[in-house]
Amino acid sequence: MAAIELRNIVKVFSDKRRGRDLLTLDNINLDIEANDFACLLGPSGCGKSTLLNIIAGFEQATSGRTLVDGKQVERPGSDRGVVFQQPTLMPWLTAIDNVAFHLKLKGVAKAERYDRAMEFIDLVGLRGFEHHHPSELSGGMNQRVGIARALLMNPSVILMDEPFAALDAQTKLEMQEELVAIWQKRRCTIVFVTHSVDEALVLGNKIVVMTKRPGRIREAVNFDLPRPRDITSPEFNDAKRRILSLIREESTRLAQAS
Protein backbone atom coordinates (compact mmCIF):
# COMPACT_ATOMS: atom_id res chain seq x y z
CA MET A 1 0.00 0.00 0.00
CA ALA A 2 1.36 3.36 -0.98
CA ALA A 3 1.51 6.20 1.55
CA ILE A 4 -0.59 8.40 -0.71
CA GLU A 5 -2.94 7.04 -3.35
CA LEU A 6 -4.70 9.39 -5.73
CA ARG A 7 -7.42 7.76 -7.81
CA ASN A 8 -9.11 9.53 -10.74
CA ILE A 9 -8.94 12.94 -9.10
CA VAL A 10 -10.93 15.56 -11.00
CA LYS A 11 -11.26 19.12 -9.78
CA VAL A 12 -13.58 21.63 -11.42
CA PHE A 13 -13.73 25.19 -10.14
CA SER A 14 -16.97 26.90 -11.00
CA ASP A 15 -16.36 30.51 -11.94
CA LYS A 16 -19.71 31.96 -10.96
CA ARG A 17 -18.99 35.50 -12.08
CA ARG A 18 -18.24 34.39 -15.63
CA GLY A 19 -20.73 31.57 -15.53
CA ARG A 20 -18.38 28.83 -16.64
CA ASP A 21 -16.50 25.93 -15.13
CA LEU A 22 -12.77 25.58 -15.09
CA LEU A 23 -11.30 22.09 -15.28
CA THR A 24 -8.20 22.32 -13.09
CA LEU A 25 -7.26 18.70 -12.49
CA ASP A 26 -8.12 16.10 -15.08
CA ASN A 27 -8.08 12.48 -13.91
CA ILE A 28 -5.00 12.38 -11.71
CA ASN A 29 -3.73 8.93 -10.75
CA LEU A 30 -0.64 8.78 -8.61
CA ASP A 31 0.96 6.62 -5.94
CA ILE A 32 3.54 8.01 -3.58
CA GLU A 33 5.36 5.41 -1.51
CA ALA A 34 6.29 5.76 2.14
CA ASN A 35 9.59 7.64 2.60
CA ASP A 36 9.40 9.06 -0.91
CA PHE A 37 10.51 12.59 -1.52
CA ALA A 38 8.11 13.37 -4.36
CA CYS A 39 8.28 16.65 -6.23
CA LEU A 40 5.22 17.86 -8.13
CA LEU A 41 6.72 19.85 -10.96
CA GLY A 42 4.71 22.03 -13.28
CA PRO A 43 4.16 25.56 -14.53
CA SER A 44 2.09 28.06 -12.55
CA GLY A 45 -1.61 27.40 -12.88
CA CYS A 46 -1.22 23.69 -13.59
CA GLY A 47 -3.13 22.73 -10.47
CA LYS A 48 -0.22 21.34 -8.48
CA SER A 49 -1.08 23.43 -5.43
CA THR A 50 -4.73 22.42 -5.80
CA LEU A 51 -3.66 18.80 -5.79
CA LEU A 52 -1.62 19.40 -2.64
CA ASN A 53 -4.60 21.14 -1.02
CA ILE A 54 -6.77 18.15 -1.83
CA ILE A 55 -4.29 15.81 -0.12
CA ALA A 56 -4.15 18.23 2.82
CA GLY A 57 -7.96 18.22 3.02
CA PHE A 58 -8.25 21.99 2.51
CA GLU A 59 -10.14 21.40 -0.72
CA GLN A 60 -12.43 18.63 -1.89
CA ALA A 61 -11.94 16.93 -5.24
CA THR A 62 -14.96 17.12 -7.53
CA SER A 63 -14.61 13.39 -7.99
CA GLY A 64 -12.04 10.70 -7.28
CA ARG A 65 -10.53 9.24 -4.15
CA THR A 66 -7.64 10.46 -2.01
CA LEU A 67 -6.15 7.96 0.41
CA VAL A 68 -3.38 8.65 2.92
CA ASP A 69 -2.17 5.50 4.69
CA GLY A 70 -5.19 3.77 3.26
CA LYS A 71 -7.65 6.19 4.86
CA GLN A 72 -9.91 8.44 2.83
CA VAL A 73 -9.04 12.14 3.24
CA GLU A 74 -12.07 14.15 4.27
CA ARG A 75 -10.73 17.11 6.21
CA PRO A 76 -7.40 18.60 7.28
CA GLY A 77 -5.68 16.73 10.08
CA SER A 78 -2.43 16.45 11.98
CA ASP A 79 -1.54 13.22 10.16
CA ARG A 80 -0.65 15.49 7.22
CA GLY A 81 1.78 18.28 8.09
CA VAL A 82 1.60 21.24 5.73
CA VAL A 83 4.35 23.78 5.09
CA PHE A 84 2.80 26.75 3.33
CA GLN A 85 4.24 28.99 0.64
CA GLN A 86 4.23 31.86 3.15
CA PRO A 87 5.30 30.74 6.63
CA THR A 88 1.73 31.24 7.96
CA LEU A 89 2.78 31.36 11.61
CA MET A 90 0.62 32.82 14.35
CA PRO A 91 2.18 36.29 14.60
CA TRP A 92 1.25 36.63 18.28
CA LEU A 93 3.16 33.51 19.28
CA THR A 94 6.91 33.10 19.69
CA ALA A 95 8.79 30.59 17.54
CA ILE A 96 8.62 27.89 20.19
CA ASP A 97 4.91 28.46 20.81
CA ASN A 98 4.29 28.21 17.09
CA VAL A 99 6.21 24.95 16.88
CA ALA A 100 4.36 23.59 19.93
CA PHE A 101 0.93 24.88 18.87
CA HIS A 102 -0.30 21.39 17.98
CA LEU A 103 0.59 20.18 21.49
CA LYS A 104 -1.20 23.14 23.04
CA LEU A 105 -4.34 22.26 21.11
CA LYS A 106 -4.03 18.75 22.49
CA GLY A 107 -3.79 20.12 26.04
CA VAL A 108 -0.18 19.08 26.73
CA ALA A 109 1.39 20.89 29.72
CA LYS A 110 3.72 23.78 28.98
CA ALA A 111 6.95 22.19 30.27
CA GLU A 112 6.48 19.10 28.13
CA ARG A 113 5.39 21.21 25.16
CA TYR A 114 8.57 23.26 25.28
CA ASP A 115 10.67 20.19 25.88
CA ARG A 116 9.41 18.51 22.74
CA ALA A 117 9.39 21.68 20.65
CA MET A 118 13.04 22.39 21.51
CA GLU A 119 14.05 19.15 19.81
CA PHE A 120 12.61 20.45 16.53
CA ILE A 121 13.88 23.99 17.07
CA ASP A 122 17.32 22.39 17.28
CA LEU A 123 16.68 20.24 14.24
CA VAL A 124 16.00 23.29 12.05
CA GLY A 125 18.88 25.21 13.64
CA LEU A 126 16.93 27.93 15.45
CA ARG A 127 18.29 27.51 18.99
CA GLY A 128 18.66 30.97 20.49
CA PHE A 129 15.69 32.31 18.53
CA GLU A 130 12.96 30.25 20.18
CA HIS A 131 11.50 33.23 22.05
CA HIS A 132 11.43 35.56 19.05
CA HIS A 133 8.18 36.53 17.39
CA PRO A 134 7.78 35.90 13.63
CA SER A 135 8.04 39.65 12.97
CA GLU A 136 11.54 39.56 14.45
CA LEU A 137 12.76 36.69 12.27
CA SER A 138 13.78 36.59 8.61
CA GLY A 139 11.71 34.87 5.93
CA GLY A 140 14.02 31.87 5.90
CA MET A 141 13.94 31.54 9.69
CA ASN A 142 10.16 31.74 9.72
CA GLN A 143 9.97 29.03 7.10
CA ARG A 144 12.20 26.88 9.36
CA VAL A 145 9.69 27.42 12.17
CA GLY A 146 6.98 26.29 9.77
CA ILE A 147 8.93 23.14 8.93
CA ALA A 148 9.61 22.40 12.62
CA ARG A 149 5.89 22.90 13.35
CA ALA A 150 4.95 20.34 10.70
CA LEU A 151 7.62 17.83 11.83
CA LEU A 152 6.60 18.02 15.48
CA MET A 153 3.20 16.52 14.72
CA ASN A 154 5.06 13.43 13.48
CA PRO A 155 2.74 13.26 10.47
CA SER A 156 2.74 10.33 8.06
CA VAL A 157 3.24 12.77 5.19
CA ILE A 158 4.56 16.31 4.91
CA LEU A 159 3.07 18.49 2.20
CA MET A 160 5.11 21.48 1.07
CA ASP A 161 3.74 24.13 -1.26
CA GLU A 162 6.70 25.97 -2.83
CA PRO A 163 8.01 26.75 0.67
CA PHE A 164 11.26 28.28 -0.59
CA ALA A 165 9.82 30.30 -3.47
CA ALA A 166 10.00 33.60 -1.59
CA LEU A 167 13.58 33.12 -0.35
CA ASP A 168 16.75 34.50 -1.89
CA ALA A 169 18.92 32.12 -3.92
CA GLN A 170 21.50 31.51 -1.22
CA THR A 171 19.04 30.88 1.60
CA LYS A 172 17.11 28.65 -0.75
CA LEU A 173 20.14 26.42 -1.40
CA GLU A 174 20.85 26.21 2.32
CA MET A 175 17.25 25.29 3.12
CA GLN A 176 17.15 22.67 0.37
CA GLU A 177 20.25 21.00 1.78
CA GLU A 178 18.85 21.03 5.28
CA LEU A 179 15.52 19.67 4.17
CA VAL A 180 17.23 16.74 2.45
CA ALA A 181 19.28 16.14 5.61
CA ILE A 182 16.14 16.17 7.76
CA TRP A 183 14.38 13.84 5.36
CA GLN A 184 17.30 11.41 5.41
CA LYS A 185 17.53 11.54 9.20
CA ARG A 186 13.83 11.19 10.01
CA ARG A 187 12.62 9.00 7.14
CA CYS A 188 9.37 10.74 6.32
CA THR A 189 7.22 11.01 3.21
CA ILE A 190 7.35 14.42 1.56
CA VAL A 191 5.28 15.85 -1.27
CA PHE A 192 6.95 19.02 -2.47
CA VAL A 193 5.33 21.35 -5.00
CA THR A 194 7.67 23.42 -7.16
CA HIS A 195 7.88 25.05 -10.57
CA SER A 196 11.68 24.85 -10.66
CA VAL A 197 13.26 21.89 -12.46
CA ASP A 198 16.52 22.40 -10.55
CA GLU A 199 14.77 22.41 -7.20
CA ALA A 200 12.84 19.23 -8.04
CA LEU A 201 16.03 17.46 -9.13
CA VAL A 202 18.02 18.57 -6.10
CA LEU A 203 15.36 17.39 -3.69
CA GLY A 204 13.26 14.59 -5.07
CA ASN A 205 13.68 10.89 -5.63
CA LYS A 206 10.44 10.95 -7.57
CA ILE A 207 9.66 13.72 -10.04
CA VAL A 208 6.05 14.07 -11.08
CA VAL A 209 5.86 16.24 -14.18
CA MET A 210 2.48 17.88 -14.63
CA THR A 211 1.00 19.47 -17.74
CA LYS A 212 -0.42 22.91 -18.09
CA ARG A 213 -4.15 23.47 -17.55
CA PRO A 214 -6.00 21.23 -17.24
CA GLY A 215 -3.50 19.59 -14.91
CA ARG A 216 -2.62 16.04 -15.87
CA ILE A 217 0.33 13.90 -14.95
CA ARG A 218 2.73 13.90 -17.90
CA GLU A 219 5.08 11.41 -16.34
CA ALA A 220 6.29 10.30 -12.94
CA VAL A 221 10.04 9.67 -13.07
CA ASN A 222 12.09 7.94 -10.39
CA PHE A 223 15.35 9.78 -9.86
CA ASP A 224 17.94 8.05 -7.71
CA LEU A 225 21.03 10.16 -8.20
CA PRO A 226 23.15 9.71 -5.03
CA ARG A 227 23.26 12.56 -2.54
CA PRO A 228 24.64 15.10 -2.02
CA ARG A 229 23.75 15.95 -5.59
CA ASP A 230 26.11 17.99 -7.66
CA ILE A 231 24.02 20.25 -9.88
CA THR A 232 26.93 20.64 -12.29
CA SER A 233 27.52 16.89 -12.79
CA PRO A 234 26.76 15.27 -16.18
CA GLU A 235 24.23 12.91 -14.54
CA PHE A 236 22.31 15.83 -13.10
CA ASN A 237 22.35 17.59 -16.46
CA ASP A 238 21.16 14.46 -18.26
CA ALA A 239 18.21 14.23 -15.94
CA LYS A 240 17.51 17.92 -16.32
CA ARG A 241 17.57 17.59 -20.10
CA ARG A 242 15.13 14.69 -19.92
CA ILE A 243 12.70 16.59 -17.68
CA LEU A 244 12.98 19.76 -19.77
CA SER A 245 12.26 17.82 -22.95
CA LEU A 246 9.14 16.40 -21.30
CA ILE A 247 8.03 19.93 -20.50
CA ARG A 248 9.00 21.25 -23.95
CA GLU A 249 7.11 18.49 -25.77
CA GLU A 250 4.15 19.55 -23.76
CA SER A 251 4.38 23.22 -24.71
CA THR A 252 4.92 22.37 -28.39
CA ARG A 253 1.87 20.16 -28.28
CA LEU A 254 -0.12 22.98 -26.70
CA ALA A 255 1.18 25.50 -29.21
CA GLN A 256 0.16 23.25 -32.09
CA ALA A 257 -3.24 22.59 -30.59
CA SER A 258 -4.06 26.26 -30.27
Binding site: F84, M90, P91, W92, K104, L105, K106, H133
Partner: protein, 283 residues
Protein backbone atom coordinates in the same frame (compact mmCIF):
# COMPACT_ATOMS: atom_id res chain seq x y z
CA UNK B 1 13.69 57.86 6.50
CA UNK B 2 16.89 57.84 8.53
CA UNK B 3 19.77 56.47 6.56
CA UNK B 4 22.61 54.52 8.10
CA UNK B 5 25.00 57.45 7.94
CA UNK B 6 22.55 59.72 9.76
CA UNK B 7 22.08 57.19 12.51
CA UNK B 8 25.67 57.32 13.83
CA UNK B 9 26.72 60.95 14.37
CA UNK B 10 29.15 62.14 17.07
CA UNK B 11 27.86 62.08 20.65
CA UNK B 12 27.20 65.81 21.38
CA UNK B 13 25.06 66.11 18.22
CA UNK B 14 23.13 63.11 19.42
CA UNK B 15 22.36 64.81 22.76
CA UNK B 16 21.19 67.92 20.95
CA UNK B 17 18.78 65.80 18.94
CA UNK B 18 17.49 64.28 22.17
CA UNK B 19 16.92 67.73 23.65
CA UNK B 20 15.02 68.80 20.59
CA UNK B 21 12.96 65.62 20.67
CA UNK B 22 11.86 66.55 24.19
CA UNK B 23 11.01 70.09 23.12
CA UNK B 24 9.34 69.44 19.79
CA UNK B 25 6.15 68.29 21.46
CA UNK B 26 5.66 71.54 23.38
CA UNK B 27 6.59 74.06 20.70
CA UNK B 28 3.17 74.30 19.07
CA UNK B 29 1.08 74.38 22.30
CA UNK B 30 3.44 76.96 23.86
CA UNK B 31 3.15 79.27 20.85
CA UNK B 32 -0.63 78.87 20.75
CA UNK B 33 -1.06 79.67 24.44
CA UNK B 34 1.31 82.65 24.30
CA UNK B 35 -0.55 84.08 21.30
CA UNK B 36 -3.90 83.56 22.98
CA UNK B 37 -2.74 85.23 26.19
CA UNK B 38 -1.42 88.24 24.24
CA UNK B 39 -4.61 88.50 22.20
CA UNK B 40 -6.86 88.25 25.29
CA UNK B 41 -4.89 90.96 27.08
CA UNK B 42 -4.94 93.26 24.05
CA UNK B 43 -8.56 94.18 24.83
CA UNK B 44 -9.94 93.55 21.33
CA UNK B 45 -12.60 91.35 22.93
CA UNK B 46 -14.06 91.88 26.42
CA UNK B 47 -12.30 89.55 28.92
CA UNK B 48 -15.65 87.93 29.83
CA UNK B 49 -16.04 86.61 26.26
CA UNK B 50 -12.44 85.53 25.73
CA UNK B 51 -10.73 84.80 29.04
CA UNK B 52 -6.95 84.68 28.96
CA UNK B 53 -5.24 81.32 29.55
CA UNK B 54 -4.11 82.65 32.93
CA UNK B 55 -7.74 83.31 33.89
CA UNK B 56 -8.76 79.85 32.73
CA UNK B 57 -5.93 78.33 34.72
CA UNK B 58 -7.03 80.33 37.73
CA UNK B 59 -10.61 79.04 37.38
CA UNK B 60 -9.38 75.50 36.90
CA UNK B 61 -7.14 75.78 39.94
CA UNK B 62 -9.96 77.00 42.13
CA UNK B 63 -12.33 74.39 40.75
CA UNK B 64 -9.84 71.68 41.64
CA UNK B 65 -8.41 73.01 44.92
CA UNK B 66 -10.96 75.60 46.06
CA UNK B 67 -8.51 78.34 47.11
CA UNK B 68 -10.47 81.58 46.49
CA UNK B 69 -13.97 80.59 45.35
CA UNK B 70 -13.70 82.34 42.01
CA UNK B 71 -15.70 79.41 40.63
CA UNK B 72 -18.35 79.95 43.34
CA UNK B 73 -20.43 76.81 43.96
CA UNK B 74 -18.00 74.65 41.99
CA UNK B 75 -15.00 75.70 44.04
CA UNK B 76 -13.09 72.60 45.11
CA UNK B 77 -15.59 70.24 43.54
CA UNK B 78 -13.66 69.24 40.43
CA UNK B 79 -12.92 65.72 41.62
CA UNK B 80 -16.60 65.06 42.32
CA UNK B 81 -17.59 66.38 38.86
CA UNK B 82 -14.83 64.55 37.03
CA UNK B 83 -15.60 61.31 38.87
CA UNK B 84 -19.31 61.59 37.97
CA UNK B 85 -18.44 61.91 34.28
CA UNK B 86 -15.72 59.25 34.39
CA UNK B 87 -18.08 56.72 35.98
CA UNK B 88 -20.65 57.27 33.21
CA UNK B 89 -17.96 56.91 30.58
CA UNK B 90 -16.66 53.79 32.23
CA UNK B 91 -20.10 52.21 32.69
CA UNK B 92 -21.28 52.82 29.13
CA UNK B 93 -17.92 51.94 27.64
CA UNK B 94 -17.59 48.68 29.58
CA UNK B 95 -21.10 47.61 28.58
CA UNK B 96 -20.50 48.59 24.95
CA UNK B 97 -17.16 46.78 24.81
CA UNK B 98 -18.56 43.60 26.26
CA UNK B 99 -21.64 43.45 24.03
CA UNK B 100 -19.86 44.92 20.98
CA UNK B 101 -17.08 42.32 21.05
CA UNK B 102 -19.53 39.46 21.73
CA UNK B 103 -21.91 40.48 18.94
CA UNK B 104 -19.10 41.38 16.55
CA UNK B 105 -17.27 38.10 16.98
CA UNK B 106 -20.55 36.17 16.67
CA UNK B 107 -21.46 38.00 13.45
CA UNK B 108 -17.98 37.68 11.98
CA UNK B 109 -17.77 34.01 12.89
CA UNK B 110 -21.18 32.56 12.14
CA UNK B 111 -23.38 32.85 9.08
CA UNK B 112 -26.43 32.41 11.28
CA UNK B 113 -25.67 35.48 13.41
CA UNK B 114 -24.62 37.42 10.35
CA UNK B 115 -27.99 36.78 8.73
CA UNK B 116 -30.18 37.23 11.80
CA UNK B 117 -28.47 39.90 13.87
CA UNK B 118 -26.47 42.08 11.54
CA UNK B 119 -29.22 43.72 9.41
CA UNK B 120 -31.02 45.04 12.51
CA UNK B 121 -27.83 46.40 14.04
CA UNK B 122 -26.76 47.99 10.77
CA UNK B 123 -30.11 49.74 10.56
CA UNK B 124 -29.75 51.15 14.07
CA UNK B 125 -26.18 52.25 13.43
CA UNK B 126 -26.81 55.36 11.27
CA UNK B 127 -29.16 56.86 13.89
CA UNK B 128 -27.04 59.46 15.72
CA UNK B 129 -26.80 58.52 19.41
CA UNK B 130 -27.82 62.05 20.46
CA UNK B 131 -31.15 61.64 18.69
CA UNK B 132 -31.98 59.02 21.33
CA UNK B 133 -31.91 61.71 24.05
CA UNK B 134 -35.70 62.27 24.20
CA UNK B 135 -36.34 58.55 24.48
CA UNK B 136 -33.49 58.12 26.94
CA UNK B 137 -35.01 60.77 29.20
CA UNK B 138 -38.51 59.34 29.19
CA UNK B 139 -37.17 55.82 29.68
CA UNK B 140 -34.52 56.49 32.28
CA UNK B 141 -35.32 59.92 33.75
CA UNK B 142 -32.72 62.55 34.63
CA UNK B 143 -29.77 60.73 36.20
CA UNK B 144 -26.87 58.42 35.40
CA UNK B 145 -28.89 55.93 33.39
CA UNK B 146 -29.72 58.02 30.29
CA UNK B 147 -26.08 59.11 30.11
CA UNK B 148 -24.81 55.55 30.36
CA UNK B 149 -27.35 54.54 27.71
CA UNK B 150 -26.10 57.24 25.33
CA UNK B 151 -22.46 56.40 25.98
CA UNK B 152 -23.30 52.78 25.29
CA UNK B 153 -24.90 53.69 21.96
CA UNK B 154 -21.94 55.80 20.93
CA UNK B 155 -19.32 53.26 21.94
CA UNK B 156 -21.10 50.07 20.87
CA UNK B 157 -21.02 50.51 17.11
CA UNK B 158 -17.31 51.26 16.66
CA UNK B 159 -16.51 48.18 18.77
CA UNK B 160 -19.03 46.10 16.85
CA UNK B 161 -17.86 47.17 13.39
CA UNK B 162 -14.19 46.66 14.16
CA UNK B 163 -14.78 43.30 15.82
CA UNK B 164 -16.75 42.07 12.79
CA UNK B 165 -14.02 43.35 10.49
CA UNK B 166 -11.25 41.82 12.60
CA UNK B 167 -12.84 38.38 12.64
CA UNK B 168 -13.85 38.42 8.98
CA UNK B 169 -10.43 39.44 7.72
CA UNK B 170 -8.46 36.82 9.67
CA UNK B 171 -5.85 35.38 7.32
CA UNK B 172 -7.51 32.38 5.74
CA UNK B 173 -4.23 30.49 5.79
CA UNK B 174 -3.96 30.82 9.58
CA UNK B 175 -7.31 29.07 9.81
CA UNK B 176 -6.00 26.39 7.47
CA UNK B 177 -2.86 26.03 9.55
CA UNK B 178 -5.06 25.63 12.63
CA UNK B 179 -7.14 22.95 10.95
CA UNK B 180 -3.96 21.21 9.85
CA UNK B 181 -2.81 21.09 13.48
CA UNK B 182 -6.12 19.61 14.57
CA UNK B 183 -7.89 22.61 16.12
CA UNK B 184 -11.52 22.06 17.07
CA UNK B 185 -14.07 24.73 16.15
CA UNK B 186 -13.91 26.17 19.66
CA UNK B 187 -10.09 26.22 19.63
CA UNK B 188 -10.17 27.83 16.20
CA UNK B 189 -12.20 30.66 17.72
CA UNK B 190 -10.28 31.09 20.98
CA UNK B 191 -6.74 30.27 19.86
CA UNK B 192 -6.63 31.63 16.33
CA UNK B 193 -9.47 33.91 15.29
CA UNK B 194 -9.72 35.95 18.50
CA UNK B 195 -6.01 36.71 18.88
CA UNK B 196 -5.80 37.49 15.16
CA UNK B 197 -8.75 39.90 15.47
CA UNK B 198 -7.40 41.66 18.57
CA UNK B 199 -5.59 44.53 16.78
CA UNK B 200 -8.80 45.41 14.99
CA UNK B 201 -10.88 45.07 18.17
CA UNK B 202 -8.51 47.42 19.99
CA UNK B 203 -8.79 49.95 17.18
CA UNK B 204 -12.55 49.85 17.76
CA UNK B 205 -12.15 50.29 21.51
CA UNK B 206 -10.00 53.37 21.02
CA UNK B 207 -12.54 55.00 18.74
CA UNK B 208 -15.24 54.01 21.23
CA UNK B 209 -13.57 55.64 24.24
CA UNK B 210 -13.50 58.93 22.32
CA UNK B 211 -17.19 58.65 21.49
CA UNK B 212 -17.86 57.75 25.11
CA UNK B 213 -16.49 61.08 26.38
CA UNK B 214 -18.29 62.97 23.64
CA UNK B 215 -21.63 61.45 24.58
CA UNK B 216 -21.17 61.73 28.34
CA UNK B 217 -20.67 65.46 27.99
CA UNK B 218 -23.62 65.77 25.60
CA UNK B 219 -25.86 63.83 27.96
CA UNK B 220 -24.73 65.93 30.92
CA UNK B 221 -25.59 69.12 29.06
CA UNK B 222 -29.16 67.94 28.52
CA UNK B 223 -30.24 65.10 30.73
CA UNK B 224 -28.07 65.02 33.85
CA UNK B 225 -27.48 67.49 36.67
CA UNK B 226 -23.86 66.65 37.44
CA UNK B 227 -20.51 66.03 35.82
CA UNK B 228 -18.11 68.08 33.71
CA UNK B 229 -20.61 68.56 30.89
CA UNK B 230 -23.20 69.93 33.31
CA UNK B 231 -20.68 72.39 34.80
CA UNK B 232 -19.76 73.48 31.26
CA UNK B 233 -23.36 74.15 30.24
CA UNK B 234 -24.31 75.72 33.56
CA UNK B 235 -21.34 78.11 33.39
CA UNK B 236 -22.38 79.09 29.89
CA UNK B 237 -25.72 80.29 31.30
CA UNK B 238 -23.82 82.47 33.79
CA UNK B 239 -21.44 83.70 31.09
CA UNK B 240 -18.48 82.21 32.96
CA UNK B 241 -16.39 81.41 29.89
CA UNK B 242 -13.33 80.83 32.03
CA UNK B 243 -15.11 77.88 33.64
CA UNK B 244 -16.44 76.71 30.26
CA UNK B 245 -12.86 76.56 29.01
CA UNK B 246 -11.64 74.94 32.23
CA UNK B 247 -14.30 72.25 31.75
CA UNK B 248 -13.26 71.78 28.13
CA UNK B 249 -9.65 71.35 29.19
CA UNK B 250 -10.66 68.86 31.88
CA UNK B 251 -12.65 66.81 29.37
CA UNK B 252 -9.80 66.86 26.89
CA UNK B 253 -7.33 65.80 29.55
CA UNK B 254 -9.47 62.96 30.87
CA UNK B 255 -10.28 61.77 27.34
CA UNK B 256 -6.58 61.80 26.52
CA UNK B 257 -5.76 59.90 29.72
CA UNK B 258 -8.37 57.21 29.01
CA UNK B 259 -6.93 56.75 25.54
CA UNK B 260 -3.45 56.57 27.01
CA UNK B 261 -4.60 53.89 29.45
CA UNK B 262 -6.18 51.92 26.64
CA UNK B 263 -3.02 52.29 24.58
CA UNK B 264 -0.95 50.92 27.46
CA UNK B 265 -3.21 47.88 27.75
CA UNK B 266 -3.02 47.44 24.00
CA UNK B 267 0.77 47.67 23.97
CA UNK B 268 0.94 44.96 26.62
CA UNK B 269 -1.55 42.69 24.87
CA UNK B 270 -0.22 43.19 21.36
CA UNK B 271 3.46 43.13 22.23
CA UNK B 272 4.05 40.94 19.18
CA UNK B 273 3.02 43.75 16.87
CA UNK B 274 5.40 46.43 15.73
CA UNK B 275 3.37 49.54 16.44
CA UNK B 276 5.21 52.62 15.33
CA UNK B 277 4.59 55.11 12.57
CA UNK B 278 5.86 54.26 9.12
CA UNK B 279 8.69 56.75 9.46
CA UNK B 280 9.42 55.68 13.03
CA UNK B 281 10.43 52.17 12.07
CA UNK B 282 13.82 53.33 10.83
CA UNK B 283 14.88 54.85 14.13
Amino acid sequence: MTSVTDAAPAKPAFRLTRLFQGLERVVVPALLIAGWEAFARSGVLPPALLPAPSAVLHALGDWVFGFDETTQTYSGHWLRDALASALRVFGGFALASLLGILAGVAIGWSRLFEKTLEPTLQMLRPIPPVSWIPLAIIWFGIADKPAIFLVFLGAFFPVLMNSIHGVKTVDHNLVRAGAMMGASQRQMLTDIVLPAALPSIFAGLRIAVGSAWMLTVTAEMVAVKSGLGYVLWDSYYFLRYDIVLAAMISIGLLGYLSDLGLKAIMARTLRWQTTTTVQGRAG
